[in-house]
Subunit: 505 residues, 2 copies
């Protein structure tokens, strides 16, 4: 076929289009003209060794010669990092067949296992454009996935990635569905559980719409981008790890979906369950404790929603062979003082070090969760887990194990505070009556978290505290003045971040 002889020379342009593969081509080059490409065509690129699909961006200037095809970083990786000048052939990509399942879903049909597997496989292969990913994410949001669909997507996600097998009956794990700023219990819980000789190979995600995920916070203190073999080695040595899930390809499509959810500021209940359970199964976990904080401005706002989610998590877990237990906790205010990776890391270390200044709410919640896990792992009799967790923390064993895990992962760093800060003070005297968790999270994000590791905020008050006008409520931290200004700008338009009311007593 004539088109087989139409090639262009690849050129890595050093353009970071995030995860969407893009190819750049002159609109008047022979390939674009003979193939009938137009802007945003989905194009199949073949080299001698690799093949992928990319979105075409046409160039009408001398940025490229007529013999060149520019490739973005994502395309360059998918093509196996070709050298500049390597030949590549181009043709229209076949329409992505699995998009018909997404269209069916939009029109009210249910995902079958076949549909879910086809969609997840195409997403993993990079066959979905950002526009198509957004349609998939939107079609699942708003509680439109039922239990069977959630199980189907979960199974498809597990099948799409690597999977650990620890060859043990007790492999513990925990997860928080999120929505509550701070609340960084995981590093403390893992340290306590591992110090009791239970296996806890913890993988965490990065922030979706929040100012920090556990992986972001841990990265302040230690490398979290561990490959499969490295993670295995850390767990064999220390009984636990605190790694970024994305780096070990446990559920490779999850980060792609999460990127789009983040751009839309949208979480889907079914996607959330599929994301959580698939990673737990892939991580080889057997007993999983899930924290569901409930509060008026948390991600889960009512006991009814919490019960639905509890059911969906436990049932999906059971379908995939997991023992899932859920605890519904108080989500009316942040847990801990810091919000943002470095500030939360500091809180975690204060708790682990039995520091007198450690935030007691974070300490208390971590002990309770660790206690349940110690019971699930048969290290403590029912009702005795908390006491064991407490003694493990007080004895310094938890901190010792935490440091050992960090060292095994590649080193330990003390968190640093950001250079720019600004104290926000109470405008009136009264009692702290309400925290808007969403606004607090937004503020910390605007200040730069989680990309700016030391950005975020420190809370100086809690619900029920008596404050005088002029007392500090919280301190904003930023690494750049622009970000600090942007957060303060938001604060001007949103006064109800922390509400102070008259003391009714």
């Amino acid at each position: 076929m004539e088109t087989l002889f139409d090639y262009l020379h690849l050129r890595r342009l050093g353009i970071n289009t995030h995860q969407e593969p893009v190819v750049y081509m002159r609109q008047d080059c022979h390939v674009a003209m003979s193939e009938g490409f137009y802007a945003h065509s989905r194009v199949q690129i073949s080299t001698a060794s690799h093949q992928t699909i990319a979105t075409l961006v046409l160039v009408c200037s001398d940025l490229l010669s007529h013999q060149e095809a520019g490739i973005s970083e994502a395309t360059w990786h998918l093509l196996g990092c070709p050298a500049d000048g390597e030949q590549a052939w181009f043709r229209h990509a076949r329409p992505v067949d699995s998009m018909s399942f997404v269209r069916g879903k939009i029109y009210g049909q249910r995902f079958t296992q076949e549909a879910a597997s086809a969609i997840i496989a195409d997403i993993k292969a990079g066959h979905y454009s950002d526009i198509q990913l957004s349609a998939f994410v939107t079609s699942c949001a708003g509680d439109r996935l039922n239990l069977d669909e959630t199980i189907a997507i979960t199974r498809a996600m597990v099948d799409s990635g690597q999977r650990f097998d620890w060859e043990q009956d007790k492999v513990l794990d925990k997860h928080c569905v999120g929505g509550l700023p701070g609340n960084r219990t995981t590093p403390v819980v893992v340290a306590i559980v591992a110090a009791n000789d239970l296996l806890m190979p913890k993988t965490s995600s990065r922030a979706i719409t929040s100012p920090a995920g556990t992986a972001d916070t841990m990265e302040v203190m230690t490398p979290v981008t561990l490959d499969f073999a490295r993670m295995q080695a850390v767990v064999e040595q220390q009984g636990a790890c605190l790694a970024w899930g994305g780096s070990v390809s446990l559920s490779p499509t999850d980060d792609i979906v999460i990127r789009v959810e983040r751009a839309l500021d949208l979480d889907s209940e079914g996607q959330l369950v599929a994301s959580v359970i698939s990673k737990k199964v892939a991580a080889g976990s057997k007993q999983v404790l899930i924290d569901i904080p409930v509060g008026p401005t948390a991600k889960v706002r009512s006991q009814a929603t919490a019960q639905t989610l509890k059911h969906l998590l436990e049932q999906t877990g059971a379908a995939l062979g997991l023992d899932v237990r859920t605890v519904i906790t108080d989500g009316s205010q942040p847990i801990g003082r810091g919000i943002g990776p470095a500030l939360e890391a500091r809180d975690v270390l204060q708790v682990l070090r039995n520091d007198g200044h450690a935030p007691q709410d974070l300490r208390e919640k971590s002990l309770q969760l660790a206690g349940v896990l110690l019971e699930m792992g048969d290290k403590a009799a029912p009702g005795q887990g908390y006491a064991l967790a407490q003694s493990t923390l007080l004895s310094g064993q938890a901190m010792a194990r935490f440091e050992a895990i960090c060292l095994a992962q590649g080193g330990f760093n003390e968190p640093q505070l950001a250079d720019y800060s600004h104290v926000i003070r109470a405008e009136r005297t009264g009692v702290v009556a309400y925290f808007n968790n969403r606004f607090l999270a937004r503020l910390a994000s605007l200040a730069g978290a989680p990309n700016a590791r030391s950005a975020g905020m420190d809370l100086h008050v809690a619900l029920g505290d008596q404050v005088q006008a002029g007392d500090p409520l919280f301190t904003l931290y930023a690494e750049a003045p622009g970000e600090l200004a942007y957060a303060l700008d938001f604060l001007n338009g949103h006064t109800d971040v922390i509400r102070i009311e008259d003391d009714m007593v």
Copy 2:
């Protein structure tokens, strides 16, 4: 504020990102670093005279210097076509507030007028990224817009663009909801109606997911990109025009929404009604006839759906002051022989020229539609419209007026056939029993239509025709061999495009 002094020099890169505004910046330039930008940040760009929002793409190579910001064609236009080197300032764009309405919709809330207006205004201003546009389109698809929401979006779309006022009571218009290949009645209808001295300022859209829209077909014969003043002049002179709606900004957000619908191969019923009615209102139309073809593989597949659509169109029209009449027609097979811009243009001209080879189904349907419009315009008594339409066509007045309209729009060209063609023959003897309109449309699209103007297909048979094995069924046309090969490739996997069955008689 310090950031006010952080600027970069703009450089037009000649990159056509379609309608999504993009800005390129080195990830290690002072602006990206001090503002805390990351990949896919939404960035506000300000020059001395203009301001817009663009999606940030980070560059990690020498494509740009540290003092430069590259801009895509869309961004360059939104910034008023700045000269290279012009200074620009950058900051984080505020989150797009109207996305909260889209999120609400995904969670089952209804669009109010306020929500619809805010969303449409933000889309018009270019504030939605492709990912956000896709979420909006998806949230509306699958019949999720009720009548009130459809009216709200229609009103918002009308308010967002220019609006014609013809200062007359009778301003006729027609529209087909689509889904049927060929079916290019509009040019014939407009010619007949205008030849009877009725006003018919017709604006049409380009193809969404089909191989040709009326604007695509007309563009083969005459310029259709008329500005507001030019369109007005054509209509004042000839009583009618056949222009592309997008070029006169009648409903500027519609093309943006359509681009995303096309990428998703998705039509939303409510968006369809809003799109149709808003353009009719903006065009200053008063009496509108809408053709709803129904068939097993047409866009509308059941009488029930057709009735829903009829109701939605008539009620939305009435809410915006239009007299909307609908006709439900046979959509079981294409109308006319050609599918694709030039091939359809040839059919249209054969009908207008009373050519003995003219496709009779296209002629008949055009006369019926024109007849109804002549009655709506009070040029014929009820029941007499068809006869008047027929005599207008036979007398040559319709063709004369068609040519006059084309000349007023800038000239008339005869359609040309494509260089590459391939005849598809019947594999068996029997009766033509079934056309798959969607596969036919897909075939014509794969062959290059509508971007390749002369690409598409010619049908040689109709339902009920007796054929012998080896008889030609249709001819594929393409402008490039790659496209022809691609269409033939599709045909290998999809044999049920035209089905031949045993003759049961």
